[in-house]
Symmetry: C3
Subunit: 319 residues, 3 copies
């Protein structure tokens, strides 16, 4: 079966996951993002690459922050952006997801940015578009269930490349609730594709998926050993709903074992960078001293995220 | 009394209803829409006809789909579009509808697209604008109660003309809950104005208004006789709230009697087209085989709807 | 300590309050607004002064009307406007207000329009921006708690200057619930700064703050004496939640004592103007005959409000 993200010529036609994304395509996105970084620093922060295109933000799961980043990226490309509040729309009147998609395609949509609580919803849309022969309409996965959040994965790769250049020499530690994290999954697939020297997954047994080692990831249940000599530390957000559940004793206990404190950070390389996808739970997975400290690159991640999303949209639109 | 939709020169100044809309005005809208069809196929889907105009979507009744079609149409005309979530606004603080309108006029609004659960609300606004002498501000009715949904009526006429040309030779069947349908009402008035050969209303006694025959509409309670030899079939959405009420036994029973199945469709002319305003209740008023079949023109209706709304806005703005 | 609204050169860098705003800055804003009045009357109501700038409406407290005025003002300046529905965003996931601000700054925000139920929230953001050295990012207070609503204060000054020119000769009466009104506070500070001849606060003992007289305001508990010979009457909205509380007997009783009726208005100068920030409670603080009468300038206030907000944004952006 053909990779659903690529067209017959091997070009990116949807961005659904970093899983299966060829290294050259990832590199193309990061290189394009590099050229967009400068646009956001201009006095007039706009380029006309998507002028007259209709981009639909379809968020079945509410996320003001992620929607905002895509809306800004699309507007800086001069697209017309339409936000659909799908929780209040026809789908709640019993219309199916694909009927909604067919309708928007009939309105000459050019791109769908889709967030959904169910894994696979963006794939479903992409497959449907292929079935009806509309390869001029593109899907960007803005997070689906526990499955993937590829633009976050790509902006994380952009951040690492920006500060550390050569992936082959790096030790990268992903710390926290990897089991439930689409960010972790997207990061790990991209790190593998880019030939990262050593990838570590750090967290309690209950929050690590079982298949990690088959992907070449080294598992650490002890934070100290997981951080030892690391170049890059990617902290994950602990979802509120996990904090007092069966998998974890309490937020306080979690911080004691897996919270990134200055003392723990000192175990990594002196020039290690600290990343976090946001929003942060200060005092749960990360101490404020670290979050606001000199090794944190959490806000640059946000800046790079706009450039990466502009790059993805621009490439999909055929520029 | 003057037709409140036309100015002293007989030109369209508001679009409130297809009732009382002269044939020449309908034809002018359809001809203008024809010229806009091509804009949505361009690489840059924009024309500057409403540049610098402020269009307000005032939806007292929630409808993501209809709001989206107007928002896209306005943006493709380069207007500034402001969506008011009126359920959360000053009107809920006790301000009257006309105070809200006066305020928006004072902000130099150019056009109001109004949806309201009460029949007549857009008329009320149009009359108020006439009273305060602001004939430069225009109202488009985007659906008021059971009364009218004129842009849906006009896009339905566009669709019929596109596939069938001459209205005088056509048998058009409108099927379903006509009593509660503003779409049916708007369609029937427009079909009459355009000189349609034969107009049929098909549905159970409880869901047909009494005055149909005075409008020249032929009433059928039997679906088979209503569809016999028809050129055009307009299926209506069965509102969820009717499905288990006093007027209808059940959705299942409704489908058995009035659902459009392939067998029923075979009674119409072989080249009959099937229309539906959406969102569809598959398996209630229409079978999926018909909805997705070769005679369905339901998605083209959506495409034509954008062009028709662009045409209405452009004409109202004086182009 | 430096005035947080002005930069080292004494230029406006945030608009937080009319308290402490120098007379020359107020005059600069009013003069600039005068030049923008004409833009909203053009056929193409747009100037490119904020093209490519990203303006974020961050409304922690819902206000469709105020958000709309800022959105229109920003769009007529050609800015990209992003509305954040903060009640549904990351702050509800436990992120702090300043983390949210840091994130938006990292996305290259140029301006924040902030509404908050707590007094001081916009100051907090402005101070934070100063601390992180980002004097290129600007804050406009769109209403914070009972504290300030400076653009309303400035548009009220614009209105008075438009109709009455010289402030030094005027008697201005502010009538109603001054204790809970950020509008009243912003008006009084601006009236003082502009050298108004006589400022009166009119209302029941329970709804007047104690410090008024130290600001040079004359207190009247009797409406008739408060209105006698006035040039300008600023009516305040009586909040619904006050109407049946401990501070007031009832809305009916309030109207009897403090409602502006034609008879009461006749006590003021014959050419006195009547203002109201909206939305009005007709029959509570103001009679409909007055609200719709020839002395009311309530709708011109709305028109001037767009021009004043355009002026503020344009000056902050460095034009």
């Amino acid at each position: 079966m053909r990779n659903p993200q690529l067209n017959a010529a091997g070009e990116l036609t949807h961005l659904l996951s970093t899983d299966g994304l060829p290294r050259e395509v990832i590199t193309q996105i990061l290189d394009t993002a590099q050229s967009f970084l400068e646009v956001s620093n201009r006095d007039v922060k706009k380029v006309p690459l998507l002028r007259g295109k209709s981009v639909f933000n379809i968020f079945f799961e509410n996320s003001t922050r992620t929607r905002t980043t895509f809306e800004i990226a699309a507007k800086r490309l001069s697209a017309d952006v339409i936000n659909l509040d799908v929780t209040r729309s026809s789908t709640s009147k019993g219309e199916t997801l694909l009927d909604t998609v067919d309708n928007l395609v009939a309105m000459h949509a050019d791109m769908f940015v889709v967030r959904h609580a169910s894994s696979g919803a963006p794939y479903l849309i992409a497959e449907h578009l292929q079935r009806i022969g509309r390869d001029d309409v593109h899907v960007v996965n803005a997070g689906d269930g526990r499955h993937a959040h590829p633009t976050q994965g790509l902006l994380d790769m952009f951040t690492i490349r920006h500060y550390k250049q050569d992936f082959s020499k790096l030790k990268v530690a992903v710390v926290g609730d990897i089991l439930h994290s689409r960010v972790a999954r997207s990061d790990i697939h991209a790190l593998v594709a880019l030939g990262t020297g050593e990838i570590r997954a750090v967290g309690p047994q209950t929050l690590l998926p079982s298949a990690l080692e088959q992907m070449g990831v080294r598992v650490h249940h002890d934070l100290a050993s997981g951080l030892a000599d690391a170049d890059v530390i990617i902290m994950l957000r602990l979802q509120n709903e996990r904090m007092n559940g069966a998998l974890l004793p309490s937020a306080r206990e979690y911080f004691r074992c897996y919270g990134l404190t200055p003392a723990m950070l000192a175990l990594a390389k002196p020039d290690a960078i600290v990343m976090h996808p946001g929003p942060m739970n200060r005092g749960v997975e990360i101490a404020s001293e670290v979050a606001d400290g000199p090794q944190a690159v959490i806000l640059p991640q946000v800046t790079f995220g706009i450039a990466v999303r502009m790059a993805v949209m621009s490439i999909l639109a055929g520029n």
